[in-house]
Each structure stands twice: as C-alpha cells, then as structure tokens.
Symmetry: C2
Subunit: 363 residues, 2 copies
Amino acid sequence: MTTSGMITLKLDLGERAYPIHIGTDLLTQEALFAPHVRGTHAVIVTNTTVAPLYAERVAATLQRLGKQVVTAVLPDGEAHKNWQTLNLIFDELLGAQADRKATLIAVGGGVVGDMTGFAAACYMRGVPFVQVPTTLLAQVDSSVGGKTGINHPLGKNMIGAFWQPSAVLADIGTLSTLPDRELAAGLAEVIKHGAIADEKYFAWIEANIEALNARDTAALTYAVQRSCEIKAQVVASDEREQGLRATLNFGHTFGHAIEAGLGYGEWLHGEAVGCGMVMAADLSARLGFIDAAFVPRIKALIAAAKLPVTGPDLGEDRYIDLMHVDKKAEGGDIRFVLLNRLGQAFMTRVPDAELRATLRANV
Amino acid sequence: MTTSGMITLKLDLGERAYPIHIGTDLLTQEALFAPHVRGTHAVIVTNTTVAPLYAERVAATLQRLGKQVVTAVLPDGEAHKNWQTLNLIFDELLGAQADRKATLIAVGGGVVGDMTGFAAACYMRGVPFVQVPTTLLAQVDSSVGGKTGINHPLGKNMIGAFWQPSAVLADIGTLSTLPDRELAAGLAEVIKHGAIADEKYFAWIEANIEALNARDTAALTYAVQRSCEIKAQVVASDEREQGLRATLNFGHTFGHAIEAGLGYGEWLHGEAVGCGMVMAADLSARLGFIDAAFVPRIKALIAAAKLPVTGPDLGEDRYIDLMHVDKKAEGGDIRFVLLNRLGQAFMTRVPDAELRATLRANV
C-alpha cells in the first residue's frame, strides 16, 4: 500500500464531517474505502469515458472488501446531466435490489459526482456516497461540499440537494489521462479560489501556471490541497449557502448565462467560469471596488491557463434574461459576487448600466 | 376569522419544529399562512380533483397577503406519482422565475403532499413548503413527518427525501367532499395508530367507527388530533427512521406488495394498508407474539371501516419478491413490523414458512 505523501484534510461539519484524501495510487487502497462502504452493495457510478480507465480498478478494490459491486455507466457530458441519466442510476440500484445500506461511489468528473450525490440523496430518501473525482475541476471544487443536482432546460443545477459524501479520494494520478481542455477547465476553479480567498495563492498560481499546464505532480498536488482547504473552510462555515459560501460563485453568474445561452456542454463549465471571472473582475473595477489594474492581471492568468477570456455574443438582453433565472437571483434582483480586493469577495446588486457596459466590453 | 376550536400541536424537531393546526375554516385565514410564506412567490400544488374545490380559496388567502401566486395542477392519483408529474412542478416554478425564497403549498392528499414536499426538497436544493392536507389519510398521516418522494416502477417511494414542512393546516371541513372510498383509506391509518401505539385509542375507534364513517366533525377532529399526536411523537424521537419510526409501517410491507403487484393506483394506499394490517396481525399471532383473538378483532374493525380484509391473489412467490424490493428490506432480509400486544409494535425477521402461511390464509 502506497501512502507516501498522502495528505488528508478534514471537512468539519459536525456529525457530517468527512476526510478528503489527496495523493497518488489511492484507488487500489482498500483501507481508504473500507470505513465508508458498510453495507453489502457498492454501486459505482461512472461514465463511458472514465469507465475503461478507472472503474475496473475501483471495482476490484471494493471486491477485495467483499462487496457486491455493480456499475452504472452514464453517457459523458454536461448535456446528459438530467433526470433521464439520473434514472439510469436508480434503475441500477433497484435492479441490484440495493438496500438502504448501499453505498454509491462516484468515479468521474463534476457531472458524475453531482449526479451520484443527488442519486444518493434521493435513493430510499438517502444513502451514503463516496467521491472519487478524476478531473481537476472535481478534485478542487465540485467533489467537496455536498452540492449535488441535475440541470433543467431553464437553468443549471436547478434540481438538487445538499448531501455530503462520506469521503473524498482525490487521486492526482488520474489527472494524467485528462484532456487538455478539461485540465484548463479545472484551473479556472483553482484561479477562482485564489481570487476570492487568498492573494498569496493567486500569486503562486501565476508563478506556477506553466508547471500546472504541464501536469507537474507536485504543483497539481499543492493546487488540489490548497483549493480543498479554502473550499472546506468556506463550506464548514456556511454549509447551506446562506452567505459566505455564495462567494464561491465568483464568475458563475456570467458563466451560467454562457453555458445556458450556448446550450449546456458547448463550453465546459470551467471555461464559462474562466470567462465569467474576467467579466466579474471587469464589473468589480467598473464599480470602483477593485483596482482597474487587476482586470488585465486576471485576464492574463486565465489566458495563460488556456481558457477563453471573451464571452460568446448572445446579445446583452439575452445575457441578462439568463442571469435572472439563475438561482443566485433573489427576490427578482440579480446579485453578483464581486471583488473588493484580490483575495476578498462579496455579494452585491449592480446597476444595469455598468452590467451592460461589462457585457459590451467582454463579448 | 374563525379560530373557535382550533387545536395546535407542535412537532418538536429542534430548528425544524413546526405547528400542526387542526380545525375548520382554516384555508381562509391569512394569519395561519403568513409566518410560513416569506418570499414573493407562493406556488400552490394541487390536482385536477382538488383544484376546483379548494385551490382558489387558498390562492385568494395568499393573494391577500400580497403574494404572487401560481398554481400547478397535477393529474390525480397514485399512478401519476412519478418524475414526469414532479417535473410539472419544476416547470411551473422556473416558468414563474420563483427564487429560493419561494414557498410551495401542497393542497390535496398524500400524493400531492409527497410530491410537493419532494419538489420543495429539490428545487434549488431546498425551499420551504406548507402542507394543506384535504384527505383524511393526509391529515392523519402523510402530511406530518417530512417523508416525501415519488414512486419508481420497481418500488413505491423509492426516490425521495426527508424534508419537513414549515406548517401543516388540517382543515376538517375539506373532508366533507372526500369520496367514501378515500375516507375509508384514511381510516386505515387511524386504526394503525391505535394498533401500534395506543390501546385506548384503538378501543375509541371501535366505539366510534360509525360516527367516523358518517363524517361526524367532532369524531373526525379527535381522530386527526390523536393520530397526529402519535405520529408527531414517533417522528420527533426518530426523524430519519433509524428505529421506532419504522413501526409506523405496520401493514405497509404487505400493503406495498399489494399496491406494486396490482399496479399503483389500482387499490388506494389505505386500502392496501388496511388489508396489510390484517396480514401483519395474522403473522404476529402465528408467531406467538399477540393473542390470536386479536386477529378477528382488527379484521372486524377494518371491515367496519369499509376496507378490504383479503388480499388479491398475486401468488405467494410474487408477494415475497415484491416484499424483497420494498425498502424495509435491509441486507437482503425482509423485516416486518409486528405486534407484541395491542398498542405495541416492533420489527423482526420472520421464518419463510409462517410468512407463506399468512399469505395463504389471507388471499
């Protein structure tokens, strides 16, 4: 068993606290799964892309623990993050006569993790699940914090639940098979964590962006660790997003409008968020919150991470309509996460004129 | 405002505690809704049968509170308790651009309440809802306790959540429009509460069954009150059904098999539970737990409530298969709620031979 260099963080949520293990060669270690897979049934949920790479390895580990293992293989991609696909998981669970002690194991990226978590939240009114994120985006962001759900044609993640995993196993080795475009999408959330919470981390990302692009294991391990630390701290202080947690949506109001406007799956979530952060920084500067010099700085970093920095031309009105239906809209007003300064985010309503000016300047 | 004779119970669940108001003419009282409907949007969920009777009255009350009211009218019946119907609620919410502060109001029976609660649990990862049960079954049982969900072709309530309402408004007046068959279905759960928890209440039901059948307001009010007291006490001590709460499933393992075997909606849930209680009492006596004299006693009461006492002939093996997939099965074993004595229930595994004997004796 290789545990050399494994880092374990803890997400402190009282009785729902759980460990986040970060390292290499984690998928073959029974000891990491054993405390979290208690019943007779383990149901692996993965997709057509990840299944041939890692699902068999996880299944073998669970079989060595004596579990009855079945695997639900979903179609790959954000476009399939809907009820129909979710129902494939329920079909598998019920077909296997999985009971309330069954554990779901999400092996894949953010879409697989979000759907597995939501299936676990709903199956027999709630069963445990374990996150085994295999994309950078899932390792640094979506696998941690218990937000689960599916999309609706009228909005992203509109249907879901807060349902915490029993453990997160982030195996850095799985990033070796990640397509370049998905690596970049994960870096968007890495950059976001620096921007909203930690100026020094942001500077570290700037200094190490080439190592991250080149998938240097040490650089990726540090990024996953530091991002998980930031996310865990925010989630622990505000699990159900009453306040602080909403700052993790920096860039997401614009980003969700891009995703919905183009149709889910056209741009990756991280690509839309990358571009959305440029817009949110622009708006922050335009309203006098952050120094204008920060806008080209974050734009340069996002470009260096090989992410788009200019939004698709959906038309101003369409952008605004799409943002109105986004779930961050409360009481009819759109609220934006903006930056006061590098490392500090807050939520505010914004005047229509400046919002439109930002859209004009960045599409 | 008529509050004469209104009874208010409290379901004590810490920060999720809520009131259960029982009385007549509750639907027109703004003061009962006001503390629980905080945002700008109130979304009434009802069905094609109940909408013309009571939805307009509730909508008018909410409009007097200044709410934007929209109404989702679902097809009526257990056969529609599925994802497709649930999605009609989401369509209505998103079409109205309802935000996270929106409140859902369930106006109808158990199916409407279960689906509204599940929609509330899932919409934007959770919004509040109010139960306005208009059937006896919903008033004495399903509206209290926070079990929500939908059916899957392979099992009843397989997909759902624990999500507590903000309040329950049980208006006894709405029972005047209830079809006889549904009144009887509600009495099944009333009888169940006596059987599992309160010998004196069981005797009261026996003595008052004709008054209940005749919809005597005082008798119905007492039944709703006493049943809600029993249910609230059980739920408060075991919200997520780790133990005691499971005793509320007395008659349900047999009942769910009947419902699933015939196809949901063929028998009403209460009818299946009524018959299921005869089977569960028979099995309790057959295994020596309860005096054999109790079996004809409960059978007579269930018959007096105009409920079926003989199960459909699905075949023994089919009954057993259906019970295996029922969610009370844990680790592959079927566990039954049986009676030790009148007023005291417990869970146990049972030998196959006695289970088969019970099925042979009661179909």
